[in-house]
Symmetry: C2
Subunit: 226 residues, 2 copies
DNA sequence: ACAAAAGTGTTCGATATACACCCATGT
DNA sequence: ACATGGGTGTATATCGAACACTTTTGT
C-alpha cells in the first residue's frame, strides 16, 4: 500500500449571523495562539474522522454559543496552499443563523468572544474576511428566494424588524410600502394579534412566520428567459 | 505535539459538461478498481499537498481530455462519513465546461471514458449522482446571470445552438422569438457574417460571443424586492 | 403641540409571455 | 412541390419602482 495521497487537515469554520437591535452581527473569536495571535477569527475547528461536517460545525457552535440547533448551510471549501502558515489546512465554510432571543452564551462570555457588526468588522485572521464576504452573497440570494429569514429573527417580530433584516443583508434601503406589499403577496408571515410598544410612537403589530415552504420562491428565478 | 486532528484524504471531482450535436453531455470514467468496480464515476483524484484545488482539477482533466485551460468553478465539499467505503475521503466538487471543438482526447480514447448525455446517465459510483445534480443547479443559475455559455459552445455557433444549450441546461423549452429578442437586448453575441449550411433548409447565421463582461446580469437578481 | 416610528395605495414604466407566418435551402 | 429548420414582431399581462400622508403613542 502506497503512502496515502491527498492527506490533509480538514476544519470547518462558521459565519454565524444574528440580528441584535436591528443590527446584523457576526460571531468572532479572538485567537489565543499563533498564527494571528490576538486577531479575531471565525469560530471553527477540526473535523473528527467519524463526524459529518454539519455535526462538527454544530458541535463547535454549541461550545461557543450554548445554542443547540442552529441552522447551517455549506458555503464551500477554502483550500489555498498558503492560507494557513502551519501547513495544508483546508476549511469547509458554513453559513449559520441564530435568532438572538435564544439567550446566547457568547454575549455574556469571556471577552475573547464577540458579536461584531457586519459593517464594522475588525481585521481578521486567515482568509476569513473572504469567507464572510462569500457567505453574505449566499445569504443575499437565500433571503430573496427562501423563507430563511425565520432562522435569524425571534419568534415574534415587527415588519420594521423584518425590513431592517432585509436591508442589512442586501445592503441597501428598501421602500416600506413596496416591501410590505411584497411580504403580503408572498404570505410569508401572519399576525399574532399582539402589539409591540416601545418609545414615543405608535405601537407595531407583531408577526410570526407561516409554516409554508418557500422553495417555490425559486420559481421566480426566471431572470433571463421566458 | 499532539497527533494531528482533522486528518483526512482530500480529492477533487469534476462534472465536465460539453455539448455535442446539441446534446448536453457529461464526462464519465469507468472504474477499474474496487469499490464500485465497473461503474461509471466522475473524473477526479487526490489533491497534492502543495497543489491548489483548481490546479488539481485541471491536472486531472488534462490527463483525461487533453484540454489545457478548462473553465472550472467550485460547487462545494462532499464529505459524508459513509460516502467512500475505503475510509474518510472528502471530495471538493467542481463544475467544468469544455467546448467540444477542442479535439477531445476522451472521445477517441479507451472505452473506459465516455461522454454520457445528461438525460441518460448510467448508475454512478459514490455520491456522484448528487454532485451532478447540484452542479446542474449551479449551471442553471450561472447561465442566466453570466455569459458562461461561451465556455461551452464552440467559437462560432448558430442561435439555434445557443437556444438548445439554454434548453438543455434549464431543462425546459424556450420560445424562439422571445429568446432571440432577449439575446439581442443583452448584446450577448455578435454576427460573424458567415453562414452555416447543413441539411435541406435555410442556412443559419453564425455568431460569436462579445467580450463584454456579464457580471452586470447579476443586477437582475432583484427577484423579490424593489 | 410635537416628535417619532407605524401604517397604508396608486400610477407608470419595464419586462415577461403568448403567439403564427414567411424564408432559403436540398431533394 | 414539399419538407426542414431559420428567421422575424406585436399585443397583453405582470411585476418592479417611485412616491406622501395619516395614525398612534409618549413627553
Amino acid at each position: 500500500m502506497e503512502k496515502l495521497r491527498g492527506q490533509m487537515q480538514v476544519a470547518v469554520d462558521a459565519v454565524v449571523f444574528t440580528v441584535e437591535n436591528d443590527v446584523l452581527k457576526i460571531l468572532l473569536i479572538e485567537r489565543r495562539n499563533q498564527p494571528f495571535q490576538g486577531r479575531f477569527a471565525l469560530p471553527g475547528g477540526f473535523v473528527n474522522p467519524d463526524e459529518e461536517f454539519e455535526q462538527a460545525v454544530k458541535r463547535e457552535l454549541f461550545e461557543e454559543t450554548g445554542v443547540k440547533d442552529i441552522f447551517v448551510k455549506q458555503i464551500g471549501a477554502y483550500g489555498k496552499v498558503s492560507r494557513d502558515p502551519r501547513g495544508r489546512i483546508i476549511s469547509i465554510a458554513f453559513l449559520a443563523l441564530i435568532s438572538h432571543d435564544q439567550n446566547l452564551k457568547a454575549a455574556t462570555d469571556a471577552a475573547k468572544v464577540k458579536w461584531a457588526p457586519l459593517n464594522d468588522l475588525p481585521p481578521l485572521a486567515f482568509d476569513h474576511r473572504q469567507i464572510i464576504s462569500d457567505s453574505l452573497e449566499v445569504l443575499k440570494f437565500e433571503i430573496q428566494t427562501t423563507n430563511i429569514a425565520r432562522e435569524i429573527l425571534p419568534e415574534e417580530f415587527t415588519l420594521s424588524n423584518l425590513q431592517s433584516l432585509y436591508e442589512n443583508i442586501l445592503q441597501r434601503k428598501l421602500d416600506k410600502r413596496n416591501f410590505r406589499k411584497k411580504i403580503r403577496e408572498l404570505e410569508l408571515v401572519k399576525e399574532t394579534g399582539k402589539q409591540f410598544m416601545e418609545g414615543a410612537h405608535r405601537p407595531a403589530m407583531l408577526y410570526e412566520f407561516r409554516d409554508k415552504e418557500y422553495e417555490n420562491l425559486k420559481e421566480r428565478m426566471h431572470v433571463l428567459l421566458s
